[in-house]
């Protein structure tokens, strides 16, 4: 039944992807369909809860059918098809291996048990978002202010399976990874003259797109955030804004992604900023609900400025935590630094994406400065995950810059 739930997610997202990105070639369209489908299904359950309709599978299906009819574009279906390569089978095999890992057991991450899974299980039994559960001070550690897209997606799957079945929820993760890699593969195909290189570059990025944290919100935030920036970089603002909107519904970091996106856009292509309105429209209902129901956040309680000033006065504490809990993959970082250094003169061409990465990174550092928790503890348990939000985009840009450097060099030599 989980597979059926995910197929329906895809079917729900397909007309939205066609409407939002009508010229998308096949792989991009397929990837966007699944990611937008997740967002639409989750937002539909959210809307049903807000208007007081108890969830049932039939009611949920009728509601998403109405959305599908509303967004369907009555235009002939013509999809350009990317040329696939044998190497793409290796990427597919990587995803199959990841699927085995994701479904071998129920999610064991403590954040699944304490937050995402707990909320989903509670909402599923309640037949909607249980606001009194979120307001209960005994459960403050479950982060009641966190946006609900992931628990609602678990609940979507649970509506199909009929009962809480945590092991089956793992299937969501390879599906998200497959969708993101389909978009990346398609965008690489647009960048490179060689389909072989596009498939090789996608294979290289696959480990960054397949989040190792099963049951928590890293995989969807990485997918929505990366897709938003890579599509926005191409000027595809409607699908980018929708992805950003769903990122804001996934984690609080998604709000930071939206603000970083808006600032990067204002500095590079200011006339496009108003086109971000769909992202704001998706973000607002949860922010309103959060304010109305008084759902508190653990990050900004107490004397924020005092904490920030104290930590800035003793930067060695934060610095030593970053060194002690440094994220792995040194070869990745060496490769990225070399790519950015050798293509230094071309960085301006990727100003938007690089600005977004830089601003988002600055937001994450700022969060460490103001957090209520012990900063070393916070770094230990979040730093690697936060950096993972940015690495697929960074790796994509690094590869594209290297490609441009190589091809322009060739053209210069030939001339």
């Amino acid at each position: 039944m989980t597979l059926l739930a995910l197929i329906v997610v895809f079917a729900v997202g397909f007309p939205a992807a066609r409407r939002a990105d009508g010229d998308a070639p096949l792989l991009r369209c397929l990837g966007e369909s699944f990611l937008l489908g997740i967002g639409i299904c989750a937002m539909t359950l959210f809307a049903l809860s807000i208007i007081g309709v108890r969830w049932t599978l039939l009611r949920a299906l009728i509601a998403v059918l109405i959305v599908m009819i509303a967004v369907t574009r009555r235009a002939p279906l013509r999809l350009r098809v990317e040329r696939l390569q044998v190497i793409d089978l290796l990427t597919l095999a990587t995803i199959v291996g990841y699927a085995l890992f994701a479904t071998v057991a129920p999610p064991a991450e403590i954040d699944f048990i304490a937050d995402w899974g707990l909320k989903a299980r509670t909402f599923a039994a309640h037949g909607g978002i249980n606001w009194s559960f979120l307001q209960n001070a005994w459960y403050r550690w479950d982060h009641p202010d966190y946006p609900p897209l992931l628990p609602l997606t678990f609940d979507w799957i649970t509506l199909f399976s009929g009962d809480w079945s945590p092991q089956s929820l793992g299937m969501l993760y390879p599906a998200i990874g497959l969708a993101l890699l389909a978009i990346i593969r398609s965008l690489f195909a647009d960048e490179f003259a060689s389909p072989f290189l596009a498939s090789l570059a996608t294979l290289a990025i696959a480990p960054l797109a397949l989040s190792p944290w099963i049951g928590i919100a890293e995989a969807p935030i990485v997918a929505f955030g990366t897709a938003a920036v890579l599509l926005g970089r191409r000027g595809l603002m409607i699908p980018a804004a929708l992805m950003l909107g769903f990122a804001t519904m996934t984690k609080n970091e998604g709000l930071a992604m939206l603000v970083a996106f808006a600032i990067a856009l204002a500095l590079t292509q200011p006339r496009l900023v108003p086109k971000l309105w769909p992202a704001v429209a998706i973000a607002l209902p949860w922010l309103a609900a959060r304010a109305i129901f008084g759902l508190s956040t653990g990050l900004i309680g107490g004397p924020i400025l005092t904490r920030a000033v104290e930590r800035l006065r003793t930067p060695q504490i934060l610095g030593s935590a970053f060194i002690k809990y440094a994220t792995g993959a040194p070869l990745l970082w060496i490769g990225v630094v070399i790519a950015l250094a050798v293509s230094f003169r071309m960085l301006r061409e990727e100003a938007f994406a690089l600005l977004w990465i830089g601003i988002e990174f600055a937001f994450y550092i700022a969060a460490y400065l103001v957090t209520e928790s012990d900063v070393a503890w916070q770094v230990r348990w979040s730093w690697e995950r936060l950096v993972s939000h940015l690495t697929p985009t960074l790796a994509f840009i690094a590869i594209v810059l290297l490609w441009r450097l190589a091809t322009r060099g060739t053209m210069t030599t030939n001339a």
């Binding site: 403590i110 304490a114 299980r121």
Partner: protein, 92 residues
């Protein structure tokens, strides 16, 4: 906790006894796991985040689930026991 789940209803309120020395030193982890395993039942903590015991919270409970403990609590009777603990039900 799965056995406690089988013996209680979704609407029940269950206090959680875990012999942990502090909130950060075991109680939070056990209470969190119990809350997930017993959802959507309301779980009631018997320790605050600053390690203060909250025995008065027992008065709010229909049941007391005790992990690796078997305390005698007034107005509660044991209805189930295993190697891992006991389940007490309010008698009045």
């Amino acid at each position: 906790m799965n056995a406690v789940r089988e013996r209680t209803l979704d609407s029940d309120r269950i206090a959680i006894v875990i012999p942990a020395p502090g909130w950060e030193r075991g109680y939070q982890y056990g209470f969190t796991r119990a809350t997930y395993l017993l959802a959507p039942r309301t779980t009631i903590p018997l320790m605050a985040a600053n390690d203060t015991p909250l025995p008065a919270n027992v008065a709010l409970a229909d049941y007391v689930a005790c992990w690796h403990a078997a305390p005698a609590i007034p107005h509660f009777a044991m209805i189930w026991r295993s190697e891992d603990g006991v389940l007490l039900r309010r008698t009045r």
